[in-house]
Symmetry: C2
Subunit: 566 residues, 2 copies
């Protein structure tokens, strides 16, 4: 190799090394904001409300309070320059791209650079609940630090799970308006209310508290959040309106008042005072752990020996199962968990795989239930046929989950469009990334023709059909942090397809019966048309009276009617 | 409200507070491993190789070295217990789910818990390149720390961008086998080679160095990585084999040797020695910044006044543009950037939107080019018609990007299947999450019927068609950290559709010409059949000789032939 080339290589290893840097989690998500659901102004509005509502519902249910929520989207110091500016900007960019193209180092210039102000407005979002409130010390971190929360380490069904959502919403507001998040919270009548203004330090991923005082608040307990942000309010399928409507369907215990940017109040009263059965936290199941996880658990456990470790740290492991596992692994039960080396851990894992262990309990899940799925569909969709299926719980990667399906068919639904799919995960409606979702794949790969519907290859079925799918799990594997679609785990898709099959068979029966009835009716009409002629023919041949002729016609019509009913 | 209920609420705010915890980034990604592309053993194998190959190619190109890579998948101490164990385990789980169901607190038990060992094997993956190597001090962090890298903060096209991939692969290997990553690296003939064994401390997200010594290595410069992991080797659409084949198509300068688990070597020689034109790093474009970002840039800049700040920190801002922006904002050019308050920053932003600024330069991009897209398609797909389109560069959120399309049609491609779509981002093949990708949406919402193809509503077109789409950008907005699909930015989908339209029109012309030719041929055949009869009829009527008749037939046939050609 020539010397100059060698020199270039050495220089490069050095140059590259100099550029290596740590990336802060806030920087990462700022640049990748679409991962959090903030890639468009309309979506940003929805995501922010969704994260706040999720948290409020989780907190109310955990505290045993029937949730009463208020959501408001208030126009906030509208950027008067907004639309006009952006149009100018766009024209200018187009113009300058042509004019100034030659300024580019190599004369090439990208098209379409334009300021982002188009279709954007500034809003103040307010979400207030009657939940248990947040203790003072926790408020700044919950709203001013990414990856901080109570639900990540807990194995039970909840809406939030990552400790990212609400602080990310605050971060987005801060990025687009420079304003902090304001939080009011009170944990009970005998406690003072607090008011905080918090920003997020993007380099350190730590809260920056602007103000934090006691304040007067008329509520005994609850939390109120105010976030200023740049967004876009739209109607339609992906709208806040639609999200809140679907949230009401999946949460019949929620009383919700929603004020849209025009100041109109829409009220969704709760249809029941019963909270869903509380989901109970479970421990990990032995079949769900891997070598690395098991090694860490052994290192961190407070149990003094591996026998106690197995019984304390896992679900479904009693004295007998623990003994079986340890005998299989050839490890003494009184051994210190911290003393196990890699080979021991591998033996333990192999022995777990060999041991019969009951599946995890399912009281960590809180499905909506067949009746409420049906009731929800009926309240939201006008159709002629409804059915619903709640599957028994199943497991993926050690995580219990449960699939529920509702179908609505016919009636006023449009017959020549693709079926509409409503997706829910832990009672939260999913509005974006439909085609990337496991639900989509399950619906697409089900054979709807066998249930009497039309379906082109690679497409959803066509017909007057609404499909509702709910996944309840201690850990929903979303395809991104924005929690918009469920990842394609084969176990999950399989359960969805089984549920669709069961509901689809019922639908097929209905459609076939309908077709049969229609067919019979057509035949009857056809025969009925000829009965009078038969009567007249008989009259001519047998020379019967008019009265007799009428009698023959009536008898024949009756017979036809009866034979059809049979 | 009754006292006991109040008590419950207060207790709950406290209980919930006690559970609030920081979530380490490694914990987060361990639980959300599907975000990184490790949700199945087959995908884990692919993702690991992909991340290593991405890094090797980036490093070689940056150093100006024609890349020579070796990839090997070596069966590693096969877990003899593997399949048998898992079958037993599964049967056991099913049995015990029935038997022990009543052990559950509420008698309910999830189905299908089973040990994860099914279809999994242990592999040792080896990826070796002739790149510039990595300087000693950087090796542990690059392989043992998530969110650490050189490309995140740099605005130019590269395969890696997040600083997550290769350390995540190491983390997955560690989780499933407990083994460290081994790295050999050397930065030049006059430098020693180094050998490191690194693990990732999951709590701290910091490297844990097991060994780090000088060693003997026959290579002058390059990097070799060895990762042990649990995976599954499969053939087919989502396979490593397919990924490497497509990588060779999109990187004609790459010389690749691949050894599959059977020890068979497959060689993809480079078809050119020319590296792609080097992508040049650019500064951010003023139209791409928002209030929060601008505020941070002002705080961190080394420029002493805002006039210099604008010129130093952005592309396309010269003295004149800077003056225009500052005049528009009503700010004095010599003002200290650190002294700007929120209102000033808003004014600056508004003025930027009002100012004509040229679009960003595009030498930060390195598209494949129409000729090489076509050549790549021809080498990989046997068809009768090929076309390719490289669109001019465009911009989304301030980031330049460029779309390229290739179509292959007819020939031996199956005519009754959905079109096959090959997706690439910055020359990297994307194999998973097709339906969640902007590419999918662009293809689905293009009107293929107008180009002469069949297409059902909501489905890909049907026909003997392969569609290749490449997106080159300084920042590809992937839908998740696993970099499998492009997010649905409207600007990106629009460009893809424009490219598809242009290529589609050419395809439509071809299909129509083909149809016309077929039609003309049919008509000709039809007439040709009657010419001899006409000859005979003429002979009868005009009483001409046999020779004359033959002449008439020849003349008529010639005329027909000539008229068809016109």
């Amino acid at each position: 190799m020539a010397a100059p080339q060698k020199k270039r290589i050495e220089k490069n290893a050095q140059t590259m090394a100099a550029k290596q840097r740590e990336i802060s989690i806030s920087e990462f998500f700022t640049k990748n904001r679409h991962l959090l659901g903030f890639d468009s102004p309309a979506k940003a509005l929805l995501t922010t409300i969704k994260e706040a509502v999720d948290n409020s519902l989780d907190a109310c249910e955990e505290a045993g309070i029937t949730p009463v929520l208020e959501v408001e989207i208030r126009p906030d110091k509208p950027m008067n320059l907004g639309v006009e500016l952006s149009n100018q900007g766009e024209a200018a960019a187009a113009e300058s791209a042509g004019k100034n193209g030659k300024n580019g180092k190599n004369g090439k210039t990208a098209n379409g650079a334009k300021p982002g102000a188009k279709n954007e407005e500034r809003y103040k979002l307010i979400i207030e609940d009657n939940g248990p409130g947040i203790v003072k010390a926790q408020i700044p971190k919950i709203f001013g630090k990414l990856l901080y929360g109570s639900k990540f380490h807990s194995l039970k069904q909840s809406r939030g799970q990552q400790g990212i959502g609400i602080s990310a919403a605050g971060m987005y507001g801060q990025l687009t308006t420079g304003q902090p998040v304001t939080i009011y919270s009170r944990t009970g009548k005998n406690h003072p209310a607090h008011r905080f203004q918090v920003m997020l330090d993007m380099k350190k991923n730590e809260p920056n508290i602007l103000t934090g005082d006691e304040t007067i608040w008329e509520k005994d307990h609850g939390t109120r959040i105010e976030i200023h942000l740049t967004g876009s309010y739209k109607r339609g399928q992906h709208s806040v309106d639609n999200y809140l409507e679907q949230t009401a369907i999946a949460n019949p215990h929620l009383h919700l008042t929603y004020r849209n940017p025009k100041g109109e109040a829409i009220i969704y009263p709760n249809s029941t005072n019963d909270l869903p059965p509380e989901a109970v936290e479970i421990k990990p199941h032995p079949y769900g752990v891997e070598l690395g996880i098991l090694a860490r658990m052994l290192k961190e456990t407070k149990s003094r020996n591996i026998n106690a470790f197995l019984k304390d740290e896992f679900c479904r492991v009693g004295p007998k199962t623990a003994e079986q596992i340890l005998t299989g692994a050839g490890l003494p039960p009184r051994k210190n968990p911290k003393r196990l080396v890699r080979d021991d851990i591998q033996k333990l894992l192999d022995s777990i795989a060999e041991t019969k262990i009951a599946s995890p309990p399912t009281d960590c899940l809180s499905p909506i239930g067949e009746d409420l799925v049906m009731a929800g569909l009926k309240s939201g969709v006008e159709a002629e046929f409804y059915t619903s299926v709640t599957r028994p719980a199943s497991v993926y990667r050690g995580n219990p989950f449960q699939i529920e399906i509702g179908l609505a068919y016919g009636g006023k639904l449009p017959g020549d469009e693709l079926a509409k799919v409503m997706r829910f995960a832990n009672r939260v409606p999913l509005l974006y990334q439909a085609s990337g979702c496991a639900v989509h794949k399950a619906v697409l790969t089900s054979n709807w023709r066998s249930y009497g519907l039309q379906q082109s290859r690679g497409a959803l079925p066509t017909g007057p059909l609404v499909i509702l799918i709910h996944m309840a799990s201690v850990w929903v594997p979303f395809t991104s942090e924005s929690k918009e679609a469920v990842a394609h785990y084969p176990e999950i898709i399989k359960e969805m397809k089984l549920a669709l099959q069961e509901a689809g068979r019922r639908l097929g029966k209905h459609i076939r019966r309908q077709a049969r009835e229609k067919d019979a009716l057509k035949k009857q009409d056809y025969i009925q048309k000829y009965i009078p002629h038969i009567g007249e023919a008989l009259q001519e041949i047998l020379a019967i009276s008019d009265a007799e002729k009428e009698e023959v016609i009536t008898t024949l019509t009756d017979t036809l009617e009866r034979s059809r009913k049979l």
